[in-house]
Amino acid sequence: MRVFLLLLMLFAAPVVSLAPMPALAVQPDEVLDDPALEARARALSTGLRCVVCRNESIDESNADLARDMRIILRERLVAGDTDAQAVQFLVDRYGEYVLLNPQRDGVNLILWVAAPVLLLLGLGVAAMAVRRRARPEEPLSDAEKARLKEILRE
């Protein structure tokens, strides 16, 4: 019981995210002059995770760090990086954690093949069930045939 009380005291305080004052996600001063570059930056930033937030992309987040990451991303694009290079730059800096779209390598392949494999499995099980139920109804036995004839004659 003491353990519970202790836990209660420890966790009685509400756990809320201590977000800094909200700025808006993408600030007007961040927007690049070149619309094509800006579009690329926006598309990329929806796939990058803000590392201090609770599950938000840097495109959505109001945190200062997300702003820094957006600015870094744009700097790389302006410097002439390809999309992949710009993203790799952020991955090198903050780790694989920033990728909302998990890499398709190593054990992550399990994740990526999960959907098709599970689907095939499910369809296989269902097909077996259908086949079992769908076997044709057994032909009538001789006795039944005779009885049927009798009924029809009446």
């Binding site: 959907a115 599970l118 139920r133």
Partner: protein, 657 residues
């Protein structure tokens, strides 16, 4: 004193639930009628006690009794009354009490309306329901007591998390819980049937309305949560594939599957074992969802009242109930002999395909949600699985489902003919493709997503109407029109729900494909044009609310010189909680929403302002409402009222249509 009464009632209910989970079970096993009969009054008494307990806690919140720790942490005297009440479940302890309240309410319903069930089945159902209640009441009493008093009561509370001070969120958790916990009924029936070793049409007829009710609540709950995220989080997203959202979506997918397969059990007495498994897994995912939400194990934007240590207890409860139920299933499911045979092309097969798609897509979401945890624990890789993965992995399932749905819905039971079904669907398919092509030609640039959404949406909606039309048989037009009005409500419910899904699919595609955005520094008095709308920031003022201070922008929106709306996007600060929130201003329209969010003042003067035009946003939630409405229409079908009322002897099987 009232608070102690509430606490006492909770403990008493726990004691009763222990009795309820053992005595009727023994009674049913030994055939002792008086032991079985104990279950009914116990279930009613538990409901009365928990209701009393919940009322006591509500009373503490309403009167701002700051000697109660929970009230101190989650309330404030200046808070509006509705949020004082919703504050009861806006926290871990209170929301658990709500969970338990709904659980015992469902248990009591099985006692009150279950008089026509076989006595042993009812006793076993109530015993299983009682044991779930016992587990959660123990969890509440021993780890999350909502009635703990303070030694030194403060003068005022520290307020409810401001994000939760919103009408949408006042109703979102109760609906979600009604859905989650409603699935416990299907679970109890499934486990009781496994113990009993028998499943028949009467069982299906009983499980179906309960599942349907739970599904309706879950649908409304999820839609409310999504709508709330849309206007509150400030960038107009409505679904983020966040762990907490997934936690509510997985049981929904299972409930949807169960809903359909229960029909097969009821009408055709086949797919029995499969339906039982779905019922068990559906509630399992509800428990898992509760665990994910309560534990905060996975970081989420929506985690408001999480606590890892106590979450472990929910995991133990989950493991216990799933372990027992699945063991029972492995042991007894072979006893569930199917009566009906069906051909490869038949309504049964179509429902089976629906079930496979829904269940597998739910498992895919499960794998994606848990993968970061698995990868970190076993492979030492700290990574994220976000929307890009879920969109890629989940969307194909829904597309497949939407394509199959209208055809499967018109296939006859037992044995069907694809060509015959296709003949009636031919016109619908052409219409859908033509509409999609038209939209594709008309839109300039833009993604292929929206036209595909149009094709699928039209296909499903018109397909649902076609389904109704086919049900009227042959004959002259006027005769068919007359007959369509006399179709059973279950048919109308089916068509309405299916059409709702079509509307939602279309709306999601349209919104994602056609949304436009404008980010700029708006100066007071200067106008700018976005998508044909002229927007003018006329003023930014400081406004004081009851328990917050707001920076409110005033924006005039005009189109072709006509005033459309005056919108007031806000940024609020709640001093008691020390937290800021953004309050988007939205002009809701039939074809589009104009969505404004105010940012910070800029150094060179002016304010950051984001403008979105969100096409067909309202259709998304309208579609969800249609789905829920279809469920309600189906629930009001005469068959359920008659069947659930007087006769449900296994002998009377519903004739196959």
């Amino acid at each position: 004193m009232i608070v102690e009464l509430g606490h006492y009632a909770l403990i008493l209910a726990f004691a009763l639930s222990l009795i309820q989970s053992v005595v009727p079970l023994v009674g049913a096993h030994k055939g002792w009628g008086d032991w079985m009969a104990v279950a009914n009054p116990l279930a009613s008494a538990q409901f009365a006690l928990i209701a009393l307990s919940f009322a006591a806690l509500t009373w503490a919140f309403v009167t701002s009794d700051f000697s109660v720790a929970l009230v101190v942490d989650n309330s404030h005297t200046a808070k509006p009354m509705i949020y004082k009440i919703s504050g009861v479940w806006g926290n871990h302890e209170g929301s658990l009490l709500l969970w338990v309240l709904i659980l015992v309410l469902f248990g009591a319903c099985a006692a009150w309306f279950g008089g026509n069930l076989p006595a042993t089945l009812q006793a076993r159902v109530l015993a299983v329901q009682g044991s779930i209640g016992a587990a959660f009441m123990a969890f509440t009493i021993f780890t999350s007591n909502p009635f703990t008093r303070m030694t030194f009561p403060p003068f005022d509370g520290s307020d409810l998390n401001p994000l939760l001070q919103d009408p949408g969120l006042a109703f979102h958790p109760p609906f979600l819980y009604l859905g989650y916990v409603g699935l416990s009924m299907a679970f109890s029936f499934a486990v009781a049937a496994l113990i009993e070793g028998r499943v028949d049409a009467a069982w299906g007829r009983w499980v179906r309305p309960w599942t349907l009710a739970a599904w309706v609540f879950l649908t409304i709950g999820i839609a409310l949560g999504s709508w709330w995220a849309y206007y509150e989080l400030g960038w107009g997203g409505f679904w983020f594939w966040d762990p907490v959202e997934n936690a509510s979506f997985m049981p929904w997918l299972f409930a949807t599957a169960l809903l359909h397969s229960a029909i097969v059990v009821e009408k055709r007495e086949t797919l029995k074992a499969w339906t039982i498994l779905l019922a068990i897994l559906g509630f399992g995912f509800s428990l898992l969802g509760t665990f994910i939400v309560r534990s905060g194990l996975l970081t989420s934007v929506h985690a408001f009242a999480s606590d890892p240590e106590r979450g472990v207890w929910i995991l133990i409860i989950f493991a216990f109930f799933m372990g027992v139920a699945l063991t029972l299933f492995a042991w007894r499911s072979s006893a569930m002999e199917s009566k009906g045979v069906f051909a490869t092309v038949s309504r049964e097969s179509a429902v089976l395909l629906n079930n496979v798609l829904l269940a597998v897509s739910s498992f895919v979401i499960f794998v994606g949600t848990m993968w970061p945890l698995v990868a970190e624990m076993f492979f030492d890789r700290v990574l994220s699985v976000g929307p890009p993965f879920f969109n890629a992995a989940f969307t194909p399932f829904m597309v497949a489902l939407a394509i199959v749905l209208p055809v499967g819905a018109v296939l006859p039971w037992k044995r069907g003919n694809v060509l015959k079904a296709a003949r009636s669907m031919w016109g619908v398919a052409v219409l859908a493709v033509v509409m999609g092509a038209l939209v594709w030609v008309m839109q300039t640039g833009g993604s292929i997503m929206a036209p595909i959404g149009v094709v699928l949406g039209v296909w499903v909606v018109v397909g649902a109407l076609n389904d109704l039309w086919q049900r009227t048989g042959r004959g002259v037009f006027t005769g068919r029109i007359r007959r369509i009005t006399r179709l059973p409500r279950a048919d109308w419910g089916k068509a309405t729900s299916h059409a709702g899904l079509g509307v939602t699919i279309f709306a999601i595609a349209a919104m994602l494909g056609w949304e436009t955005e404008d980010i700029r520094v708006a100066h007071i008095g200067q106008s700018f044009v976005h998508e044909g709308y002229t927007l003018t920031l006329t003023d930014v003022r400081r406004v004081e609310g009851p328990n917050y201070i707001s920076t409110m922008g005033f924006v005039d929106v005009t189109r072709d010189g006509r005033m459309v709306a005056e919108l007031t996007p806000e940024k609020r600060v709640y001093p008691a909680a020390g937290m800021p929130t953004t309050e988007a201003a939205i002009d809701y329209g039939f074809f589009r929403d104009v969505y404004l969010a105010l940012g910070d003042p800029q150094e060179g003067g002016g304010w950051a302002l984001r403008t979105y035009i969100k096409p067909f946003a309202n259709w998304l939630w309208a579609g969800c409402i249609l789905m829920a409405l279809g469920g309600l229409i189906s629930l009001s079908d005469r068959r359920f009222r008659v069947a659930a009322g007087a006769r449900s002897t296994p002998g009377i099987a519903t004739p196959a249509e």
